[in-house]
Amino acid sequence: IQAASLTTATRLRPVHVLVGTGGGYVGYWQYGKYKDRELERQGIEVPPHVANEMEVALYKSIPTRLLSRAWGRLNQVELPMWLRKPVYSLYIWTFGVNMKEAAVEDLQHYRNLSEFFRRKLKPQARPVCNSHCVISPSDGKILHFGRVKNCEVEQVKGVTYSLETFLGPQTWTDISKGEDDAGSFQDLLVTKDGNQLFHCIIYLAPGDYHCFHSPTDWRVAHRRHFPGSLMSVNPGVARWIKELFCHNERVVLSGEWVHGFFSLTAVGATNVGSIRIYFDRDLRTNSPRYCKGSYNDFSYISSTNKEGVCMRKGEHLGEFNLG
């Protein structure tokens, strides 16, 4: 027995240990998913498995910003004419892009993938709905929507994040609410009695049109830029990482519409690390250096411009860029 165990130990190689542990983890993970499916089949609602602190720290340790900037550099390389059609056709096929809607359908027109990614649409491709006061600012998939309760917003069903962490402290207007009715952060945002706070989250997939427009008639008074991680915001990751949108780089535009407070926040991701706001030339996102947890404010209201930036429903507002 001693000889047998000795020969076994010498034959055991690191790769065997890796395969063994990896296989064990996958088996354990598959068994967990099997159990969830069984529970769902019996009509029992299964809470999403949210990553623990160690898993989040591990994921955040991946240099996503560096990867994102490298990905952006790569996509700025001008492609030779003969390579453009095959590269963009592969992208179109992979992500199901509908080039018939693009303002320029000729693939040779786009010098690199970055330009292709920023393509505009034919004006008639997206008619703006006139009968509703709020329209979708972009193409995408509705991750979640509804009323904001207890200052928590659901990123996907069952996984929430703090609205105050996401928007930052309410300092963009000098609210003169008395101490007693200052209440929660949510009460600070609601300016009119009887109103409620609502939210809607739209996920843009890689093949989607990546410009965004004004969702209603409103005046943009303030911009708050949070440098941050650039983790994937894929719905599967949004189900796994709580407070995901509070970790990622984002730009919060806030102001007023006919019913009071209104905000639009563009959240970056690994492959789409940069955010442009057309009327804000000073905004720089996905810079190499930033202080964790910091944000910088900018007001569009000045002594000469009391209104801020007036945006009409459907007007071009900004775009996401690769890298």
């Binding site: 997206r126 998939k141 609205l163 209104f262």
Partner: protein, 32 residues
């Protein structure tokens, strides 16, 4: 990438959406 709208509106504001649905720029999100 993701876009998050947070806004105040009267109580009777309603979304005409379903979670998980595809949506395109310009389509209605909701109304009073």
């Amino acid at each position: 990438s993701t876009i998050v709208l947070v806004f105040e509106a009267p109580k009777d504001f309603t979304f005409n959406l379903k979670a998980g649905q595809k949506i395109r720029f310009g389509e209605a999100l909701g109304t009073m």
